[in-house]
């Protein structure tokens, strides 16, 4: 637990034409912790992630990175800060091998030619640093990998660039039990190495298995961001579906006005019990 969050968003608003998708959203991600971002379909999870990664510009609001105000206007800005996103569809090239995929578009060169030995070594070190033992050869084509292994490569690719914040969009959605377990352990290891991790998931088990904090979005509003040790399964489900649970979440259901989120910064255990 560190005092300053790595990433802090304040009062983020975002509209697509007449549709307001995010209303006064506050969100924090701390180094060494997994923050789970949960919410129903259409709650604004993906939009929030796209705002963080610079794909969508925000209408209003503040970004603080390591305590300093920053502006993220393009994915390049986000990458320069050390923010990497692993999308659901993985964006890996089937016809390339693991090393080529991990360095795609950012290849190392020595003079005019590609520096294959260095790239291979860096890829091997990254995978070893994450205790990945399931991949046999780094020169395997990605098409020959299982779903869990692909997810592993995609995550390793995000970690390779000394990133500080890794955002994972439903990393276990299409995986079997054993592979899900591997990926969850990998997610946990990222945070244990000191990175801030944001995990988007619909699966409550995954959320509870690895997260330190849970942030719940409800119809574009952040209704609560609480520690995983202070909340139960059913409370999270209530927050997702109704926007409130006990004294957590929206003050008055259906009040609708912006800024009604109470637990938006960091609810203490006292607020739950």
């Amino acid at each position: 637990m560190s005092a300053t969050p790595l990433l802090e968003l304040r009062g983020i608003d975002k509209s697509f034409g007449p549709v307001q998708v995010l209303r006064d959203v506050a969100f924090t991600a701390h180094p060494g912790e997994v923050t789970a971002l949960v919410g129903d379909n259409g709650a604004g999870k993906s939009t929030l992630v796209k705002c963080i990664s610079g794909i969508h510009p925000t209408d209003d609001g503040e970004f603080l990175f390591e305590g300093r105000p920053v502006s993220i206007n393009s994915p390049r800005d986000a990458a320069a800060l050390g923010i990497e996103v692993v999308y659901q569809d993985l964006a890996l090239c089937d016809n390339l091998d693991i090393v080529q995929n991990m360095f795609l578009g950012r290849e190392k060169r020595s003079g005019l030619v590609l520096d294959e030995p260095t790239m291979e070594q860096m890829a091997a070190e990254t995978l070893a640093g994450l205790s990945v033992r399931t991949v046999k050869s780094l020169r395997q084509h990605v098409s020959s990998l299982s779903g869990g292994q692909r997810q592993t490569v995609a995550i390793a690719k995000a970690v390779l660039w000394n990133s500080k914040l890794v955002i994972l969009d439903e990393p276990t959605a299409a995986l079997g039990v054993a592979q899900t377990a591997q990926v969850l352990e990998l997610v946990r290891r990222l945070a244990d190495k000191g990175l801030a991790v944001v995990l988007i998931s619909h699966n409550m088990n995954d959320v509870f298995a690895v997260s330190d904090r849970i942030a719940a979005l409800y119809l574009g509003q952040m209704v609560a961001q609480v520690r995983t040790t202070d909340i139960t399964h059913s409370q999270v489900v209530e927050l997702i579906t109704a926007g409130r649970s006990g004294n957590l979440g929206l003050v008055e259901a259906g009040a609708g006005s912006a800024g009604t989120a109470t637990g938006s910064t960091d609810t203490t255990s006292g607020a739950v019990r």
Partner: protein, 391 residues
Amino acid sequence: MRVGPSQDEIRRQNLGALLRHVHVHGATSRAELTTTLGLNRSTIGALTADLAGAGLVSEGTPKETGRAGRPSLVVRPESARVYAYSIEVDRLRAARVGLGGEILDRRDLERPRGLDAGETAPLLAGALKEMHQSVPAGALCVGAGVAVCGMVRRADGLVRLGPTTGWVDEPIGAALADELGIDVPITVGNVADVAAFAEHARGVAAGCDNVIYLYGDVGVGAGIIAGGRRVTGHGGYGGEVGHMVVVRDGARCECGSRGCWETEIGEYGLLRAAGRSDARGREALLALFDAADRGDARAQTAVRQAGDWLGFGVGNLVNIFNPEMVIFGGTMRDLYLAAAAQVRSRLNQVGLPACLEHVRLRTPKLGEDAALVGAAELAFERLLADPLDVG
């Protein structure tokens, strides 16, 4: 009047500390050793020379450091090896492990349920002979360690009771010594204790001094580390958390009692609750988790219920020991990952807020190998305590 330790004792302690450091952290430069151990530069030089003379470490020039100045020599662990065994309900595993914790060679064997110690020892000895052929000449064997599912008497490694293996008073240590015919001490430990030891030394719990490692097999046991020390109790039988009674007059347990924790979260309990009482073994359990994931309602109910019970017991343990980390190993890993929401929810209800504050729930980093690595660590203990006396 208390007399201070003699120079000889201090030297032995320093030798042990140095060897332990390179054993746990791998190759380390002399300069780093000087700062981490807080010893004089020339002392480190002399200690390394002694250890190198005994063939326990080697020194070499480091790769390009990229810094100015004469590079400090790197001290690497060398040649000393132990044999590690793990006796589980369904299988036997044997490995040759080098100083530094690397598994150099391994053999996995099936174990038909119901094999006693006298029948198990020759199988393990066979695996050892096979591995022995590929050992380079001059390699030093300093001991053997055994991890076994059951309650182990610390004094002599007698397995007093292994409810899940069906062992009662089986002298596995002695049987192995007879069969191996090698002149090294054999240390026997409970699998959960040993795995906790491994995770504490070089796994996910490195640097944590208060750890509970829950190991699930057919039954459930815990390896407990409190204040950096293993808590094994007076005779070495401590940590049998699977036999905490959680239901008064509950289901009958293999140990003879009723309502033990493992009747709710162990293999039999889970399979019974899912209506699969005739299935047995790890495979059946994984099939159950898979079915739950795919939406089989009965399997889901069983897994959720077991997760709830897991959280219940972990909550009690957290309140008693206030650990900073709880590790779920063996089948408990699968159960935790399949039912984390239930485990966490129940834990948050029964745990005291102060005790819960910094507790982290983790799965093992060494995975299946924790028992083998831990057994090797046990065997290395004597060497690390007094490096020059052994071998």
